[in-house]
């Protein structure tokens, strides 16, 4: 377990030296803030819900850009060789990287607490809704990150890895919702069950539902497992 933390810390410090992390962070904050104020101006109501829903969509682009280099860069530069010939298991490598990005993601999410503070200064946001909403963001983020990590184990090209991750995430976040709207049975039922936004909207409304909890946790576990397997498979191909 110690090595997981060692790897996570290296990954996290690497973010602070890469301009791309700052650019993504700044881009995310700019979009989220714009969205936040737009909602207050137009909607005229200080509700947290549209903020969470908006952030969930922005993260579809932001997270894959954060995760694209995780393993792709190691494959490309060859550092994967020294990493995999050290006494660390494939699972430790995956978990370490996952943890490193998650900490960065949480820091990014933490900055949006300022919106909450602003709201509290002028109104009375519901603490329970805020808590469940942020819990939903954390769970959603974990699932996004694990998908991004998985995409990164597939290729040495960072851009390709980002595109694959965005494609997989949008499939569950956007495309499933569209299929539900088309309403063709039996696909609509299936799509509804796989639709990430359906579960996330419970959270952003402040409703804690175990189905949503289970959905995001099992998606995270599945993609982490797949990541370990693809990393292992490099040894056999």
């Amino acid at each position: 377990m110690n090595k997981v933390f060692t790897l996570a810390r290296r990954e996290l410090t690497a973010y602070f030296f890469s301009p791309i992390a700052y650019i993504i962070g700044a881009g995310f904050l700019l979009l989220a803030a714009g969205w936040f104020f737009l909602n207050i101006r137009i909607g005229g109501e200080a509700s947290l819900r549209p903020l969470f829903d908006g952030m969930a969509i922005i993260m579809v682009l932001a997270v894959p850009l954060l995760t694209m280099g995780l393993l792709s860069r190691e494959f490309d530069s060859g550092t994967i060789e020294t990493l995999m010939t050290s006494p660390v298991t494939d699972a430790e490598v995956i978990l370490g990287k996952f943890l490193g990005v998650m900490v960065f993601y949480l820091a990014l999410l933490g900055t949006t607490l300022t919106f909450l503070g602003l709201m509290a200064a002028y109104g009375r946001p519901d603490a329970g809704v805020a808590f469940v909403g942020y819990l939903g963001m954390v769970l959603l983020g974990a699932a996004y990150v694990s998908v991004g990590l998985f995409a990164s184990t597939l290729t040495r090209h960072q851009v390709l890895s980002a595109v694959v991750a965005i494609a997989i995430i949008s499939l569950f976040v956007v495309v499933m919702g569209l299929i539900v709207r088309l309403g063709v049975r039996p696909w609509a039922d299936l799509a509804d069950r796989l639709n990430a936004m359906r579960y996330f909207k419970d959270f952003s409304r402040g409703v804690l539902d175990t189905r949503g909890l289970l959905y995001f946790l099992s998606a995270t576990a599945l993609f982490l497992f797949l990541s370990v397997k693809t990393l292992e498979s490099r040894r056999w191909r």
Binding site: T79, T85, S86, P87
Partner: protein, 323 residues
């Protein structure tokens, strides 16, 4: 220390390593010598547990590379070809990170890093340890790579092309360091430069086209690969064909080839076995009243052997491409 038996590696339909077996004693410095694409790096990657072999078995310090991979990795320090490093990290930071991955307990990490920094001349200009890896020159990166491989003081060091990309002074320093390290580590290094392997190693394995073509100490190899002895002579005084004919008649001469050099003729005279026929050639020349400006006896060198091996491999590769 290292035992490899019938190791074979296919990459798809390309055979990279073809049924090789060898044994390395503890404390030796082994040179893996071969032209580019001979299968050196692939073999080293199998030994360091980066790639699995298609078939065959390899053990290091009694541990199987496949079934006891983590144990093998603890016993091996590996410097890959081209020395990949995390460019954004500072040297000390990078070494501390590797030390943590190498199971070195926290209180001992600093000392371990200082030890390898000293050994690989990273501690002298004070600021090197504080510089970012990405800013370092090739020679320094190579040293950092070597320092990384030595952190956990492994019994076995595997160095893939340790001197490639270094300047002549650095090459000499690296060779000295490798020799020094050979006193308490078993070292396998790969190279495509014969002189280097001859100077640093006490065990040479020549590999070409994925197979071992020679294996032994430099002296053994030299004895084994000695070609027929030859006498080279440059003579003037008669037509080349006539010269060649006369010399071919000398006792103990097996074959003569001739090349005109201006109005001189350069003759390469192959002798029986190891015999040296310079005296006979000289006697003939003075009898006939010809002029002689060079007379030299040569035996096939390791260099010749290596050139021939490389040439054969290239020819085979070319044939495969043609098919």
């Amino acid at each position: 220390m290292i035992d490899v038996k019938h190791l074979t590696k296919w990459f798809g339909r390309v055979l990279a390593v073809d049924d090789i077996s060898f044994h390395v004693e503890q404390g030796s410095i082994v040179g893996f010598l071969g032209p580019n694409g001979a299968g050196k790096s692939t073999t080293l990657k199998v030994l360091t547990c980066y790639l699995p072999a298609t078939s065959g078995k390899a053990t290091i310090a009694g541990h199987d590379v496949l079934t006891e991979s983590l144990e093998v990795r603890r016993n091996v320090g590996y410097m890959p070809e081209a020395v990949p490093l995390y460019e954004e990290m500072r040297v000390r930071e990078l070494l501390m990170f590797r030390a943590a991955l190498r199971d070195i307990p926290r209180p001992e990490r600093q000392a371990a890093v200082d030890r390898v920094a000293d050994r690989c001349w990273l501690s002298k200009p004070q600021d090197v340890m504080r510089r970012r890896v990405g800013e370092l020159s090739r020679g320094y990166k190579q040293r950092v790579g070597l320092a990384e491989a030595m952190l956990h003081n492994p019994p076995v060091l595997v160095l893939d092309e340790p001197t490639i990309g270094l300047d002549p002074n650095q090459i000499r320093a690296m060779r000295e360091l490798i020799k020094e390290l050979g006193q308490d580590h078993t070292i396998i290094l790969s190279s495509h430069i014969l002189a280097e392997v001859e100077q640093t190693c006490n065990h040479i394995i020549v590999i070409a086209g994925g197979a071992i073509v020679a294996d032994g100490t430099p002296e053994e190899l030299r004895k084994k690969v000695l070609g027929p002895s030859q006498v080279v002579a440059e003579i003037k005084g008669a037509e080349p064909a006539e010269l060649a004919k006369a010399i071919a008649a000398v006792e103990g001469v097996r074959n003569v080839s001739k090349v005109p050099v201006g109005n001189w003729t350069r003759l390469t005279i192959e002798c029986d076995g190891r015999s040296d026929r310079r005296a006979e050639v000289h006697r003939l020349v003075s009898q006939k009243g010809w002029e002689l400006r060079e007379l030299r006896h040569t035996v096939g060198s390791l260099e010749d052997f290596f050139v021939q091996v490389t040439y054969e491999q290239n020819m085979q590769a070319a044939q495969r491409m043609a098919q």
